[in-house]
Amino acid sequence: MATNVILARMGEVTLKGLNRGRFEAQLMNNLRYRLRSFGKVSIFQSQSRIWIEAKEEGNPYFESEESAKELMTAVTQVFGIVSVSLACKFNGDINDIDSNAAEYVKNLLESNPSYKTFKVECKRGNKKFPMNSPMICEEVGAYILEHYEGLSVDVHNPDFILHVEVREENYVYAGKMMGHRGLPVGTAGKGMLLLSGGIDSPVAGYMMASRGMPIDAVYFHSYPYTSEQAKQKVVDLAKIVSRFSGRMNLYVVDFTKIQLDMVKNSPHDMLTIVMRRVMLQIAEQIAKKNDCKCLITGESLGQVASQTLEAISITNEVVDMPILRPLIGMDKEATVRISRDIGAFETSILPFEDCCTIFVAKHPKTHPKHVDIEEAEKNLDIEAMVKQGVEENLEVIKI
């Protein structure tokens, strides 16, 4: 009897040398965690590829191509996976391969009626099988041609490639869903993402996670200037990022008093810079306490006043940890594309006040100098502000 299984291919992981085992083990762990809500599944590795099967009969996610889509999408979201295919697995000889391949093609043509040309590719791991790969290709190709009049063979540019694999069991599959590539989350040290309600920061978090970095996030909440809805929006964005990055703690800093203090006691054209400096220091303290080795921001050079090189250098000075800015050289359109691709865009553009917008001066300084910041912070007890942010009313939300 034929059953549906899912084949996932690994990418960069397979290029690793002596570390490869560690990377692969992490990837398998991450897959198990990501698929925990899809019923009992067995996930195993064989010859640089990963196979996912239902452990018990009746798992709805394996019943049809349509129902498998959700499961396959989840697999593509695990960093380290390059592509995913739905395969049909069965026992038997060349006659069984023919009939299962024909059935598979039938389903495929139903959902893709425009397909006109194909080719067959075969891998034969089971060397005891009486035919070799070219012979199998020829035989299966001829069988398909006989049964589907509208199809013809095109070995150079086919509409679909029908893969046949002969191992202990046999497999046929065609087509693939592309994965998000990258390295398995957990193979790098942990980072602390400064998450606002905007478009950029969730993308920055996604990008660092794609290099294997687990992520915690910090959000600066300024109730009543920012609403509960604005906070919920950030929680929702954290959930979207965590589909890719796995478990995450979201730290919500009560920022209202600190911000009011700044408005009262520092020049308004430097407000954003002072605020960024304090935010980074608070984030660094929380990061240190929670084993994070770097900070991550969604800054992009020149996008707003606080993201000029001068402003970035001045905000950079206050922390020792590396600050990773994966979007620094990216065009806004490219960021939006990723944001849409990871499903964050619609949430990011929801209209709620966020803390950066209310406390912004009409004409902020775009090229601040050292003397400016010294002057701006002269009446502020920065140390106390940071302490207050880290210690007072800090809320931790497990995502």
């Binding site: 009543p224 408005v263 209209p351 209310i358």
Partner: protein
């Protein structure tokens, strides 16, 4: 808790809760359409409820239809009118300050080839009658207006509009949205000169899920919901006695208290106008508006920020417009009234009911003082 958001919805009053409870737990749960004794009992109670509503509005019970809400009433009235009278013409007169349920329905008519002429409103929110005069001709089939605007509290000069209509397009019909005026202004459908009107239960201490549509005898309107022919075929679907009875009780109670409530709320409104103006706030509601609505702009506070500040004091108001610093959307009603964006982005709506007190108004002013002290931000 101080609830100044009564134009959004109101708390169901005790009498309403009691009658719903009775209708749900006693032997009044039968289908009013059934022929047996149980059904007849519900049917009788249902007819009584309808009669009570008719009495408050001074119309005949046959002229009223229970709907699910004001929005359904507006949709049925406007769409159903043109569906039933395709030869009456394709021109509608209205304003840009109508509730969305009217504006969206009119927008759809425009897509279908109807002409909607929007008369400008003046700073007091009332339609410019000179312009209106020049817009009306005998091709007009329907006039759609709101008795009391939900954001500004502006009261429509209904008599003048009706006399303009009688003079210039006597055959046209008039639809009036009475959702905000019910229970606050006298509504006498026999003498008002309107042909269709909509009402809602939950704005007058009734419950959500029930509204009324008035269609004057002789005006033809096609139903939107087809089926078993209940309510004379105007709105099929099993009638709900608890909803109908709740509407009748809410209307009767509101009517009983109307004059006293108007006086009390007028005092609250006058007090708040004076106190808030003295604190530099801008009053957007017109002087002669309905006292139950007070639209006011607080300087240095964006609408949403003020809403959340008041929330800290357990005071609930409305921003009306979904203002966002990113999209910079402000109230379309205030915009149509010619109120500057810098004011409308700071505007909130206080809306009162007969249960509000002067003590609450005083507590509100005190809270505003504290909020200015604690949360005012002036970023230059």
């Amino acid at each position: 808790m101080i609830y100044f958001d009564n134009s959004a919805t109101t708390k169901p009053c005790d009498e309403v809760v009691r009658v719903i409870n009775e209708d749900l737990t006693g032997d009044l749960w039968g289908n009013p359409g059934s022929l047996h004794k149980l059904g007849m009992k519900s049917s009788k109670a249902y007819d009584d409820a309808l009669a009570d509503c008719a009495k408050v509005l001074n119309c005949s019970a046959q002229e009223l239809i229970f709907t699910s809400c004001g929005t359904e009433s507006a949709n049925t009235a406007i769409q159903g009118f043109f569906k039933a009278n395709p030869r009456l013409g394709k021109t509608v007169i209205s304003t840009r300050t109508e509730h969305k349920c009217t504006l969206e329905t009119l927008a759809q008519l425009e897509k279908q080839g109807y002409e909607v002429r929007y008369v400008d409103v003046l700073r007091d929110g009332k339609p410019d009658l000179d312009k209106l005069r020049s817009m009306i001709d005998d091709t007009v089939a329907l006039l759609c207006f709101t008795h009391v605007n939900n954001e500004s509290g502006s009261v429509l000069p209904l008599e003048q509009i009706i006399s303009l209509k009688k003079e210039l397009c006597p055959s046209a019909a008039v639809y009036l949205d009475c959702v905000q005026s019910l229970g606050k202004l006298p509504i006498d459908l026999k003498y008002m000169g309107v042909d269709m009107a909509s009402f809602s239960g939950h704005k007058i201490h009734g419950i959500k899920g029930v509204g009324l549509l008035y269609i004057k005898k002789g005006i033809r309107v096609s139903p939107m919901i087809l089926g078993g022919g209940q309510q004379d075929g105007m709105r099929s679907g099993t009638q709900s006695l608890p909803l109908a009875a709740s509407m009748a009780v809410a209307m009767t109670e509101a009517d009983k208290e109307r004059k006293a409530a108007y006086e009390r709320v007028s005092e609250i409104n006058a007090y708040l106008r004076e106190q808030l103006s003295a604190r530099g706030a801008t009053i957007n509601s017109p002087e002669d508006g309905l006292p139950f609505v007070l639209n006011v702009a607080f300087r240095n506070f964006q609408s949403e920020t003020m809403l959340h500040c008041l929330e800290i004091y357990d005071i609930f108001i409305s921003t009306v417009s979904a203002c966002s610093s990113k999209s910079k959307k402000t109230s379309y009603v205030l915009e149509a009234m010619g109120i500057d964006r810098s004011v409308s982005s700071n505007s909130v709506r206080l809306s009162f009911s007969r249960y509000n007190t002067m003590e609450e108004a005083q507590a509100f002013v005190k809270a505003i003082d504290e909020i200015y002290e604690l949360y005012e931000v002036k970023v230059r």
